[in-house]
């Protein structure tokens, strides 16, 4: 099977977040593979081990994203592609990202494309379905199980807590939900091997696209932190008094019960 996994380098949102010059401050921040993309990479590797073939991990980003791609290679992916369009395209939104990914993939004859269901920083969840639509292939989002038999595919999908069993076929794009698998940690030999695995760099000129084709449709006007909450009120006294006081406050001050 010819398998692609889409990997985004994301800000680790467990970190403290601050704003400078109208954007999220990235200095000194920790960057990771988007957690939902780790499930995608792990599933891709398991499928390759079972059915044979090759796993390519693909990311739009800049030289910093090499680190996350190497991590995916160390987990067991075979090759990596870094699409670096930063010098050519100023504004990138979901429309742009999907156009670029789909253009790169259009002649790659992928049997299966795996993505995360959502990026924990941007949070739109658009890129997977958009790419599938542009490629004219079917997709299933938020999957927790995937079985491939020839070109037949059975998928279990999480739908707000319900689960749907879906039958479909390759070629297919799926987006990973937590629960799909347990992503492995890269092993030391894996990390050594990853250094020698191919990592191809693609620039905007290498794609069949004009700048107008990918111009962002949306524009971020402002980024801000939630209004500082007045420090929460931690109640005091005997447990019974606290509980009674809490109910009173919820009733008469917050007026929510």
């Amino acid at each position: 099977m010819n398998i692609y996994a889409l990997v985004k380098r994301t800000f680790d949102t467990e970190e403290k977040i601050s704003i400078s010059n109208g954007a999220i401050a990235e200095d000194g921040a920790e960057f990771i593979i988007n957690p939902y993309d780790e499930y995608a990479v792990e599933e891709a590797i398991q499928l390759r081990d079972e059915h044979g073939g090759e796993v390519t991990v693909l990311s739009i980003g800049n030289e910093d994203s090499e680190k996350q791609l190497r991590t995916a290679l160390a987990m067991g992916a075979d090759k990596a592609v870094l699409i670096n369009i930063e010098d050519d395209i100023d504004d990138i939104d979901e429309y742009t990202s999907a156009k670029v990914i789909a253009d790169y993939l259009k002649d790659k004859k992928a049997d299966l494309i795996l993505a995360g269901n959502v990026a924990i920083d941007g949070g739109s969840g658009q890129v997977g379905p958009r790419v599938a639509e542009l490629l004219g292939i079917n997709y299933v989002t938020t999957i927790t199980k995937l079985t491939v038999d020839g070109t037949n595919v059975t998928v279990v999908r999480d739908v707000e807590g319900d689960s749907e069993t879906i039958e479909t076929s390759l070629p297919l794009l799926v987006t990973a939900q937590q629960g799909l698998n347990e992503p492995r940690y890269p092993s030391l030999p894996g990390i050594m091997k990853a250094k020698k695995k191919p990592l191809e760099e693609v620039e905007f000129d290498d794609l069949d696209l004009e700048e107008d084709d990918v111009e962002a449709k949306t524009e971020t006007k402002e980024v801000f932190l939630p209004p500082a909450k007045s420090a929460g009120r931690v109640l005091e006294g005997e447990p019974a008094d606290q509980a009674a006081e809490l109910v009173k406050l919820l009733h008469s001050e917050a007026k929510v019960i």
């Binding site: 949102t13 467990e14 977040i17 704003i19 999220i24 979901e94 429309y95 999907a98 924990i120 920083d121 941007g122 949070g123 739109s124 969840g125 658009q126 890129v127 379905p129 958009r130 542009l134 079917n138 299933v140 989002t141 999480d158 739908v159 707000e160 807590g161 319900d162 689960s163 749907e164 069993t165 479909t168 076929s169 937590q178 629960g179 449709k217 949306t218 524009e219 971020t220 006007k221 402002e222 980024v223 801000f224 932190l225 939630p226 909450k229 929460g232 009120r233 931690v234 109640l235 447990p239 606290q242 509980a243 009674a244 809490l246 109910v247 406050l249 919820l250 917050a254 929510v256 019960i257």
Partner: protein, 324 residues
């Protein structure tokens, strides 16, 4: 300049989900006086059209077909696109629900359009409309606009107030027949785990438990309190993973994203992945033994203590209020 808007209502168990009415309110705001047309898609949805009118839609178009019994992106995509082509709207509003998240990027991609997902607030109208959405797991927000063309957004449930129900409103409920063909996904089986009663994503009060509830029995006082308050029970992934409750109760990045008026977190530490699913709640209460627990950082009211001691007293106090 006024805009003609199309909204997609959402049906579950033969009833309209609240988010359907919220999409109408959102569309009205964006439209600046333009027409709001609601679309309902399913096996049998015609009879629900009137309710959409009562909540402010000017007209309704339904698409019914046996192949639309279950949601699939191909089936619902074909149905929606057929209505889109008849109506040529200038804007579209979906709910940011499982269905909306799955379908909206497909439709946007088909139309070569931008899409702003998971909107919690709308400022301004028409071409000047700006949309606020949480980013970075809810730790920040961005204000986004569509540069040009179709104004397409999906809204987070329970954030945009529906318009008042007005049974005297009337409007046309038309049905459109669409050929639904070539579905590439076949739904073989649906296991419904969601509990009966209040839909978690629409609940006004949620009492959620974490690993601190210690076992399935530990959820009993939470259920009792939730029932008393007309709310629903939720959970952290910790509680689900430990088998204290079903995954359908899970709140957070992987689970349901909720915005109730009151969120009571009992025995939940407040991991970012949990907080991402509830930080927009209007009032947050934390009950936790550990004064250092993260959940206190976002709580409006906190009690450092044992939930098994605190909840029963709260239940009694709420009963007293109810009696008065």
């Amino acid at each position: 300049m006024s805009k003609k808007m199309l909204v997609l209502g959402e049906v579950r168990d033969g009833e309209l989900r609240n988010v359907s009415f919220e999409t109408i309110a959102a569309a009205k705001k964006i439209s600046g006086g333009g027409e709001v047309v609601a679309v309902l898609i399913g096996e049998q949805v015609q009879s629900l059209g009137e309710e959409m009118i009562h909540y402010g839609a000017d007209r309704v178009v339904t698409v019914e077909h046996p192949h639309l019994k279950h949601y699939t992106p191909d089936g619902f995509g074909q149905a929606f696109m057929a209505v889109y082509e008849d109506e040529s709207p200038e804007g579209i509003v979906f709910g940011h629900t499982a269905m909306g998240k799955d379908l909206s990027p497909k439709v946007a991609s088909k139309l070569g359009a931008g899409l702003i997902s998971d909107v919690t607030k709308i400022e301004g109208e028409g071409d000047d409309a700006e949309f606020v959405r949480p980013i970075y797991s809810g730790k920040a927000f961005e204000k986004v606009e569509i540069k040009e063309g179709l104004l397409f957004i999906s809204i987070r449930p329970n954030n945009i107030e529906p318009l008042a129900h007005d049974a005297s409103r009337s409007g046309d409920v038309a049905s459109k027949s669409v050929e639904i063909t070539n579905l590439r996904s076949i739904i073989k089986d649906v296991v419904r785990k969601s509990t009966e009663g209040v839909d978690l994503s629409e609940a006004k009060v949620i009492v959620a438990g974490g690993r601190g509830v210690k076992g399935p029995e530990g959820f009993e006082p939470l259920k009792e309190l939730a029932n008393l308050l007309g709310g629903a029970v939720g959970a952290s992934r910790g509680a689900c993973d430990a088998d204290y409750c079903d995954y359908s109760l899970q709140i957070g990045q992987t689970g349901k994203v909720v915005t109730p008026d009151l969120y009571i977190a009992a025995g939940i530490s407040g991991a970012i992945q949990h907080v991402a699913g509830m930080s927009n709640s209007k009032v947050i209460v934390a009950i936790n033994k550990d004064p250092e627990a993260n959940i206190f950082k976002i709580a409006d009211y906190g009690i450092v203590g044992d939930l098994f001691e605190i909840l029963p007293i709260m239940i009694e106090e709420v009963k007293k209020i109810k009696v008065n």
